[in-house]
């Protein structure tokens, strides 16, 4: 019965599960590229001179930072998208429970779904990593960031690591969502009675505050370290702040909606604010990759530009290129991850969108509502990223360069904002445009 339930769920929710599958494929590819690159930097065939050159260029540290970021981001987004995909099965799980499926059978089914999604996606991601990694190392060589002797060396040793990370995260994300979903009383789930899903628990709030506060305090500590140590430690400070922001995300989004409510007239903007407040929990999952990517990129860009402005030297060209291109790759990954999370959230709102259409919302008006929601989410993400980047960077700038004023080139700022707003718009508006093409009556369940 268990595999029957799993097969049925995989068939019925295949489009919802595409989100976590894509994220895991991409996450596995990026992690595998970084792992294989790291292995290539210390390959046995490398000459002593090349090894010295690699160490002197700081590529080992840079790769380690990108690897850490990739693992963190992948873990986070895989957990979020898997969680959303399983939560969407609330009604099906309630139906199965009402006809006799035990919680244990359903828990296994959810875990099997996570494995069924994660395993092929991870293996495909590792396969994709070979040409991508080869291209990445070739680019590093071409820009003198690596000596000519370094060759990309793919190895199967990454397989257990990548599959372990992806599978573990996917299973944990699914298990957490499954536990909550399966625990819901079948009668309540079937009658679409919602619990109070807007509010987060006191433990989550306390942990979020602790991580944000700890991150800010950590920035002050990190600023007292030597420059190269501070650079590596700052990443962990930023990660702590971003996890804290993710945990507090629903509160932040509801607060943003509450602040704007008196300022906006009735009609569509008010409906958008109502929706953001009501959906603050799933939307908060999309904030984290956006905030992390923008804060990370902001720190990298501002640190290098401010250093160049204060010291008068832009730094070694190879190092600059590596920093910029690595940050761009990381931001692209985060952008796709955010896009994925947004699409997963939107797809799970299909019935709600159908209800809005039945209540008299034209497709154009629905697009305006979700565009307004997207604008609010993107603006919140930009502001939070600015705060996180500022809290991490400013003490370091003051200690190492004697300035509190970070410099960010206008084109970089414009590109960052365009990317953030573009990703959020694409992840909300496009799915709505596609979903609302089908008749609302069939999607609402009112055709009966």
């Amino acid at each position: 019965m268990r595999s029957g339930i799993t097969r049925q769920a995989l068939r019925r929710h295949r489009w919802t599960l595409v989100g976590p599958a894509c994220t895991q494929l991409l996450g596995a590819a990026v992690i595998a590229v970084m792992l294989m690159t790291a292995a290539s930097l210390s390959a046995p065939g490398l000459s002593a001179a090349d090894r010295r050159s690699v160490r002197a260029g700081g590529m080992t540290d840079t790769t380690a930072v990108f690897l850490g970021d990739s693992i963190y981001l992948s873990v986070l987004v895989v957990a979020v998208t898997m969680n959303l995909a399983v939560s969407r099965q609330l009604r099906d799980i309630a139906l199965l429970r009402s006809v006799g499926a035990t919680p244990g059978q359903l828990r296994w089914s959810v875990l099997l779904q996570a494995v069924a999604v994660s395993l092929p996606a991870s293996l495909l991601g590792i396969a994709l990593a070979v040409p991508l990694g080869s291209g990445w190392v070739a680019l590093l060589r071409a820009h003198d960031a690596l000596p000519d002797g370094v060759r990309f060396t793919p190895g199967l040793v990454v397989l257990p690591i990548v599959v372990g990370i992806q599978l573990g995260t996917s299973v944990v994300g699914a298990a957490v969502a499954g536990r909550r979903t399966i625990r819901s009383a079948p009668a309540i789930a079937l009658s679409e009675t919602s619990g109070d899903r807007r509010h987060i628990g006191p433990a989550r709030t306390a942990l979020g505050l602790l991580l944000v506060g700890g991150g800010i305090a950590g920035s002050a500590v990190v600023s007292a370290l030597a420059a190269d140590q501070a650079d590596d430690a700052a990443l962990f400070v930023l990660l702590a702040e971003c996890i804290g922001i993710g945990l507090l995300g629903p509160v932040v989004l509801r607060a943003a909606a509450a602040v704007l409510r008196p300022l906006l007239p009735g009609g569509l903007p008010r409906l958008a604010l109502d929706e953001v407040a009501a959906l603050s929990r799933p939307l908060a999952g999309t904030l984290v990759p956006l905030v992390l990517a923008m804060a990370f990129a902001g720190i990298k860009v501002a640190a290098r530009t401010t250093s160049a402005a204060v010291t008068g030297s832009p730094g070694p060209p190879a190092e600059v290129w590596t920093d910029w291109s690595g940050t761009a790759v990381f931001c692209a990954f985060a952008g796709v991850a955010a896009l994925n999370a947004l699409v997963t959230v939107l797809v799970s709102r299909d019935r709600d969108l159908a209800v809005l259409q039945l209540a008299g919302g034209t497709r154009r008006r629905l697009l305006l509502v979700v565009s307004s929601e997207a604008a609010l989410v993107a603006t919140t993400a930009v502001l939070l990223a600015g705060l996180a980047a500022g809290a991490t960077l400013l003490p370091m700038l003051h200690t190492s360069l004697g300035t509190w004023l970070p410099r960010v080139p206008a084109p970089a700022l414009a590109a960052g904002l365009t990317l953030a707003f573009g990703v959020v718009a694409a992840g909300t508006v496009l799915p709505v445009a596609v979903l609302t093409r089908r008749p609302a009556l069939h999607r609402s369940g009112g055709a009966g």
């Binding site: 919602s194 899903r197 009735g266 409906l271 009501a278 209540a359 034209t362 609402s444 369940g445 009112g446």
Partner: protein
């Protein structure tokens, strides 16, 4: 009285698996303002399809549907949606509310989507017996209360016509009677036309006019008799005995 719904020779067929199924076969029907019409028939007789075509939720395969004087066949999807938002209320068996939003936010949805200024919220909620529930999430309400919210949303813009598709199907008889009573009151006090699809002769007994469908065709149309006579008519049409009540 003005005709608010006019179906002329309306047919609707579906093609599934290479087979064509006729859900509605050449049905003509006029509904005047302030008229309460109950549509009955056995499962698969075309009741819901008739209601969906009349409300502009589905396009007929043939025939003409005029809603508050507008030919729906000449309107695009957006124009039909606007017409529904401004002049029509729809109540479904499955409520079709946004369970994360509050009662007030659900009732005001058509207005928030650009519809006409609604009747005062407090008045609408009081009229359906939900005064003081404005800020409660609808997910916390009972089935009967949620259907009242759906009725309030349908009546909030003071529509010309309300279409109700099995609105009591998920409710107990007492609660169902209360919901039908709300629609009856709207007909009597605000001259709203109501087209209600139901299986239940007791629900249909609240209407002024009874329309019976069988195999997609309109087989009977006249003043609504008492509950027992409705059950007899339905049984005669379907060829099976029908209980007078649930």
């Amino acid at each position: 009285m003005d005709t608010v719904v006019q179906l002329t020779g309306v047919s609707r067929s579906y093609r599934t698996g290479g087979r064509e199924t006729v859900a509605l076969d050449d049905v003509s029907l006029d509904v005047a303002a302030g008229e309460f019409v109950a549509v009955m028939g056995v499962t698969g007789s075309g009741k819901s399809t008739l209601l969906h075509c009349a409300a502009g939720l589905e396009r007929p395969s043939a025939g003409t549907v005029r809603l508050v004087g507008r030919d729906l066949g000449r309107l695009g999807e957006a124009a039909r949606t606007r017409l529904r938002r401004d002049s029509v209320g729809v109540v479904f068996q499955s409520y079709n509310l946004l369970s994360e939003l509050t009662v007030a936010q659900n009732v005001l949805l058509p207005q928030r989507l650009g519809g006409p200024r609604a009747r005062p919220l407090a008045e609408v909620l009081a009229s359906v017996g939900l005064a003081g529930t404005e800020q409660r999430p609808v997910g916390e309400l009972s089935g009967g209360q949620r259907q009242r919210v759906a009725v309030a949303r349908a009546l909030a813009a003071d529509p010309a016509v309300v279409f109700a598709d099995e609105p009591t199907g998920a409710l107990d008889p007492t609660t169902g009677a209360q919901v039908v009573g709300l629609l009856r009151t709207a007909v009597d006090t605000r001259a709203v036309a109501v087209v209600l699809v139901t299986h239940d002769p007791r629900v249909a007994a609240a209407s002024d006019r009874l329309v019976l469908l069988h195999a997609g065709a309109l087989v009977s149309d006249g003043p609504t008799p008492d509950v027992a006579a409705i059950a007899e008519q339905l049984a005669a049409v379907s060829g099976a005995p029908q209980a007078a009540s649930r």
